[in-house]
Symmetry: C2
C-alpha cells in the first residue's frame, strides 16, 4: 500500500514545524517553498540595520530536513523538499500546481504566511521599503547606507536633510524595533566612519495611526515604549495617517516631511494561494478555519500561521511566531489522527507571553499577568530569539555578533551590495 | 598654505595600501571606489562555493580608513573616502570626473584593477559566469545551488546531466581553486541534502588552452596539480580552446559538452579609465609606467596593480596581490618624495614566493628555489590569506568557518538569494 501523501506549502515557522512534526509519521511529506531557506523573520530588522549577516538568519531548509528525514528508515526519505512557486491549488483533483510540476496530495497544509499591506496609500507600494523578506531587508540596508554615502557628497542642507531623515510607518513591534535599531545604528560608532558628516542631523520619525504604540500589548507598555523612544530622539506622530509616499518625502494630511527612506511596517495581508474553489475569508484576507485548523470547505486541507484566522478564547490570535509554531505541531498531530481514522482535535493556543524589543538596552514584555520593561525585557527578547533561531552554528555566530555590537557599540555589516 | 591633494582611484589591494601608507603624510588623501567595501579577491571562490559569507571577505572601506585617518590631528581627517564611479580623468585640468562631482588633484594614483576578458568567444560574455567581483561570486553560488534544486525535479537524464556538469575555463590559480572547491562542495556532505539525487552524476570539467596547468609556476607543480585534480575526479582538457558558450553547453572545436554552468577564469584585461589624452599601453590594456610607477606621459600620475604593466628583472609581473600591495607602499613613498621636492625611486618587487590552493587538503607552492606540494602548501595558503584578510572580526569568523567546514566536510552557506 502506498503511503499517504502530505504536502505542506510554505516553510515559515508553521510549515516547517508541521514538516518536522510529521517526520516520524507513516506519511510521505513534501515541503514546498519558493526559497531554499527558512527566514527567521523576527531578526530581519537586524539585517536591515547592518547588525547581522543575511546568512545568519536564513537557514537552508534541506539542512533542517536532513536531520529528521532519515530517522525512520534508511531506505527512502519520508520528508522531502521542493523549491518551487505554488501557482494554484485544485481541491477536486487534490493537486498542487507549481511552476515546475503538479503534485498530488492526500492532505494539504497551507502555510503561505502574509505580505505587506500598503492600504492603497499612493506611492507606498512603489517607494516605501517593506521588511517582510530577506531580500527586502538587504535592500533596506543598501538604502540606509547609500543615504549616508550620498549625504557626504551633498552641500545643500535641504537635500542632506532629506537623505538623513528616516521614517518608520507603523507603531507595532516591527516599527518599534526598527526605530530603536536605527537609533543604535546611526547614533553609534558609525559616526566615526563619516567624519565630514554631522550625524546629529539624522532625524528619526515614527508614525502610528492609532492613539498609542504597541496596541496589542498592555497600555502601560505602550506608554513606556513611547517615552523611551522619545528619550532616544525619535519623533513620534500618533493618530497620524500617511497619505502619500514619494521617493523624497512622506505626506501626512497636514504636512509634508522630506524623507528619502520610508519604512513600511503598518500592515499585513494574508498571502492566500489561488484555489479552484472560493474559500471563506475573514479580514486581512485570512482563511477561516475550524477549531481543528481544517478549512471549512475541505476536511483534508489545513491552514495555519498568518494565513489562517484563528480565535482563542473568543479573541483572534495576533500572528506571532509562537502561534504558528504551535499550530504546526497541532496540524501534524491532527493529520496523524486522521490517518488513524480518528477525529482531529481543536487547537488550543498556550500563550507563553509577549516580548517586544525597543533597542538601546530596553524592551517590554508581558508574561501571564506580569508586565515588565527595560533591560530585563531587552535581554529576554534576545535570549528567547537566540534559542529559537535554527542551527547551532547560527546561534553561535549571532551570539558573537551581538557581543561584538553591544559591547563595542559598532555595526559589523555595512556593505552596499549591488543588485 | 593648502595641503597637496592626492586622489586614489580604486580600493583594491594597491589603492587601499597606498591610502593607508599616505595617512601620515602632509597630503589630503581622497580614496574613490564604486563600492563602499574592499573585496578580498583571493577568497571569492569560497563565496561562490558556499563556504564563506560575502560579508566575511568584504570590508567596509570607511572602517579601514577611520583607523588611520585621525592619527595626525584631531582637527580634520586627512584620509577621506568617496563612493563614486570615475568617468574620466582630465590630465590638463588635473581633475577626476565622477558620476557625482569633479575632483581636483595634485597627485593621482590609478589603481582600477582588471576585469574578465572573454576574448570574443561567442556567448561567453552573456552566458559564462565570471568571478572577479563579490556580486559575480554570489551570482555563481546562486547558479550552482539552483542547478541542484532543478536537477531534483527533472527525470530526463540528459537534462539532469546538463544541470550537473560544471565547467571551469582556465587552468591558472583561479581555475584550479574553483575546480577543487567544487569537488569539496559537491562531493562532500551536501549530498545528504539531496537524498533523491545521485551526486555521482556530477561532472566537473577543467579546460586549459595551454599544454599544462599553472603556467606561471614551475612545471613540476603544474603536473602535481593535474594529477591531484584527476584523482579528485575532475576531467581536464589541455590544449583546448572554448569556441562557444550557450546557456546549456560549452563548445570545443571538436565536441559539445552539455553544461549549464560555465565558469570563466581564462583571462583578464586592465580596467583602464577614460582619459583626456591617450596613454601608452602594453598587452591586456595595461598602462606602461616608468620604473617609478609614474605614467610615461604624466609625472604626477601613477598606475599600480593590475592596471599597470611593470617589469621586474626584465620579466613582467604576474598581477598577484603582493605585487599590488608593495606597489601601494612604493607609490605612497614616491609621492612623499615628490612632496619633499625629491625624485621618486624605482619600484623593486620583493617576491616572497607563490602559493596556489587546489582544495581537498592540497596545494602547491614555491618559495625561493624551494617548490613543495600537498597538505603543507594547502595549510600555508589558508594561513597566509587569513593573515592578510583585513579586520580581526573577519579573521575570527573565517577561521571558525574553516574549522567548521574542513572538520565536518560541510558547507555552511547555500542560500539562493533572489536578486
Amino acid at each position: 500500500m502506498k503511503n499517504p501523501r502530505v504536502v505542506i506549502v510554505g516553510a515559515g515557522f508553521g510549515g516547517l514545524q508541521a514538516a518536522q512534526s510529521l517526520a516520524n509519521s507513516k506519511a510521505d511529506v513534501l515541503l514546498i517553498d519558493r526559497n531554499n531557506y527558512h527566514t527567521f523573520v523576527p531578526l530581519l530588522y537586524q539585517i536591515a540595520t547592518g547588525q547581522l549577516e543575511p546568512e545568519h538568519i536564513a537557514y537552508p531548509i534541506r539542512k533542517i530536513l536532513r536531520r529528521c528525514s532519515w530517522k525512520q528508515s534508511n531506505q527512502k526519505p519520508q520528508l522531502r523538499f521542493l523549491m518551487a512557486e505554488v501557482e494554484r491549488v485544485d481541491f477536486s483533483a487534490q493537486i498542487v500546481e507549481t511552476d515546475s510540476c503538479a503534485i498530488p496530495y492526500d492532505f494539504l497544509v497551507l502555510a503561505t504566511g502574509s505580505q505587506t499591506q500598503f492600504w492603497g496609500v499612493p506611492g507606498a507600494a512603489e517607494h516605501a521599503f517593506a521588511m517582510k523578506t530577506l531580500e527586502e531587508a538587504v535592500t533596506l540596508r543598501n538604502q540606509i547606507i547609500s543615504c549616508l554615502e550620498k549625504a557626504v557628497q551633498i552641500s545643500d542642507p535641504l537635500q542632506r536633510q532629506q537623505l538623513l531623515t528616516f521614517t518608520v510607518v507603523g507603531g507595532g513591534p516591527t516599527g518599534i524595533e526598527m526605530a530603536g535599531a536605527l537609533v543604535e545604528m546611526l547614533r553609534g560608532k558609525l559616526r566615526r566612519d563619516y567624519p565630514t558628516l554631522d550625524l546629529r542631523e539624522v532625524k528619526l520619525i515614527l508614525v502610528q495611526s492609532g492613539d498609542r504604540l504597541l496596541t496589542n500589548l498592555p497600555k502601560k507598555l505602550g506608554i513606556y515604549t513611547h517615552k523611551r523612544l522619545r528619550q532616544l530622539g525619535v519623533q513620534i506622530y500618533l493618530q497620524t495617517k500617511v497619505s502619500q509616499v514619494t521617493p523624497k518625502s512622506v505626506h501626512f494630511p497636514d504636512q509634508i516631511i522630506p524623507s528619502a527612506t520610508v519604512i513600511w511596517t503598518a500592515g499585513l495581508t494574508a498571502n492566500s494561494p489561488e484555489t479552484s474553489e472560493d474559500l471563506s475569508s475573514a479580514k486581512k484576507g485570512k482563511l477561516i478555519v475550524q477549531p481543528t485548523l481544517q478549512l471549512l470547505e475541505q476536511h483534508n486541507v489545513y491552514a495555519i500561521g498568518d494565513l489562517a484566522y484563528v480565535e482563542n478564547n473568543g479573541k483572534p490570535l495576533n500572528g506571532v511566531a509562537p502561534e504558528a509554531l504551535q499550530q504546526g505541531v497541532a496540524v501534524a498531530s491532527n493529520i496523524k489522527q486522521q490517518l488513524r481514522g480518528q477525529a482531529p482535535q481543536p487547537f488550543d493556543y498556550f500563550n507563553k507571553g509577549r516580548l517586544a524589543i525597543i533597542g538601546c538596552y530596553s524592551g517590554v514584555g508581558k508574561i501571564g499577568v506580569l508586565a515588565f520593561t527595560g533591560f530585563l525585557a531587552w535581554l529576554m527578547w534576545l535570549g528567547v530569539h537566540l534559542v529559537y533561531l535554527p542551527g547551532w552554528r547560527n546561534r553561535l555566530l549571532v551570539l558573537l555578533t551581538w557581543l561584538y555590537t553591544y559591547l563595542l557599540g559598532d555595526r559589523a555589516v555595512r556593505l552596499i551590495l549591488p543588485r
